[in-house]
Symmetry: C2
Subunit: 280 residues, 2 copies
């Protein structure tokens, strides 16, 4: 999807937050914000929101000399790992473990330092376990999953990938699917990278890994390469808003996400706070 | 107070919202946003938040050819007027009508299309009636009020001024104070102007009216003229965040407001959602 005008102030807020997470002095923070504004002014705003966000976050990383969200991401992974045994028990003891694992993977999507400033993961899990889906393509998901051999899984954020791990485990209990995980090629906000995948032990469950762009390295989501990855697999799962924004021009994807901003809400025809399992 | 970096994306969000309220076509909205970004980049960011906001909102008004918030303001005034009899009853039947009227005037400060996107006025009134003040200089307020003859009252938003009217009535029941009301000289966001004052009948209660800047006409809050107005009166009441931001370099003001953004929360040493009756 194309960025809306609302995305511009939001990206600037995000990049300022990134510079604050880096504990950079205020004058450098101002420099990052001003450079980001100048850089965005030079762009056409018909790109996807992640493509525009990349431009600003690249500037923040230049000054931060590294990943502003390193600490935040470790904390998210650790918090999610500490919840893992309890969540696994909830999944295993539920009437429909696959569906419950999907709900929990969607609840994990609340760990998003791009769209949100604060969240409470345990509270969100409890809510999402009983929440009505705004779109519920679960029957179709089960049907396609049944006949599939290979799955392409676009992960979203650090921390959240612990919840994805739970879902992938549940899927692999059904059949030994060939799982290809997609993460960011380098740091951007709190998005998961290979480092996070290894940290939480998800690398042991997957057969292949691919990398999408953080604005510096990797393929853009709406590139011919990524399109070919989707064609290569029998089933594609896309987690979160950023992947939805970047992949929405392709067909045949199961989107699992929590609606966290009015721009996505309008595009997807749902409300902020809704949970989505949508095939498109 | 000086603007924080957080104010910049927030002002851009505000001005975009203003252009959306004007029902301007998307390409004009983009023009407004881009011009606002360019204009803010040309500024030093050590001005007050309202001064920076004026720059952007002036651009929105240029394209809107009028007040983007005209409808919104009328709706807020009408909604507040419809609540007036009920609120007056609550005030009159309370143990301390003056204090209750202050609470209600602060609750009315939720009607703010600058800081917030949504609000529920009745819910807010019910909460604020029982909420603990983060700063509570009520004893000092009563003491200074007792000996005062003249009051300078900086109003904030349309709709909210109906709640101010209730407080001003309660104050005038004590003694026939000379009341000078301060409103915006022209439209900016949903801030109250003379038109609103007349619409809700507040003009009949006041003895004098002064005008502060909307970025085009009127005095800036931190100007020598406004300082002299404060000196001229025995007691000064300042409603809302914008007035706090613009007046905070002066002494001897009672601030009545609801904390609605993290920048104010930090500056005032309180939390978002707090209610404040602060003498400074």
């Amino acid at each position: 999807m194309k960025a809306r005008l609302d995305c511009i102030p939001c990206i600037l807020r995000q990049v300022l937050r990134a510079s604050q997470y880096s504990h950079l002095p205020p004058e450098i923070q101002e420099k990052i914000l001003r450079e980001s504004m100048n850089a965005l002014l030079k762009e056409e705003w018909s790109k996807t929101p992640p493509e525009l966000a990349h431009i600003a976050h690249k500037i923040a990383r230049k000054y931060a000399r590294g990943d502003p969200y390193k600490e935040v991401k470790k904390k998210s992974n650790d918090e999610a790992l500490s919840l893992y045994p309890k969540l696994k028990k909830i999944v295993d003891e539920s009437d429909d473990p696959l569906r419950t694992a999907i709900r929990i993977a969607i609840a994990g999507n609340i760990i998003d330092f791009g769209a949100l400033e604060e969240y409470n993961i345990e509270k969100t899990v409890n809510e999402v376990l009983h929440k009505k889906f705004a779109y519920d393509d679960y029957p179709l998901f089960k049907k396609i999953l049944k006949n599939a051999k290979s799955i392409l899984y676009f992960a979203d954020n650090a921390g959240e990938i612990v919840f994805d791990k739970l879902l992938i485990e549940k899927i692999k209990e059904i059949k030994d699917y060939k799982i290809t995980l997609v993460v960011k090629a380098g740091p951007i906000i709190n998005d998961a990278t290979l480092e996070d995948v290894k940290y939480i032990g998800l690398d042991k469950l997957i057969n292949d890994i691919r990398y999408i762009s953080n604005g510096e390295i990797g393929y853009e989501r709406n590139s011919p390469e990524v399109k070919s990855w989707i064609k290569e697999h029998d089933l594609t799962i896309s987690k979160g808003q950023g992947n939805y924004e970047g992949l929405s021009e392709f067909q045949g994807i199961f989107y699992m996400l929590m609606v966290k901003c009015p721009v996505i809400a309008e595009d997807i025809n749902a409300n902020v706070g809704d949970i989505i399992l949508l095939y498109r």
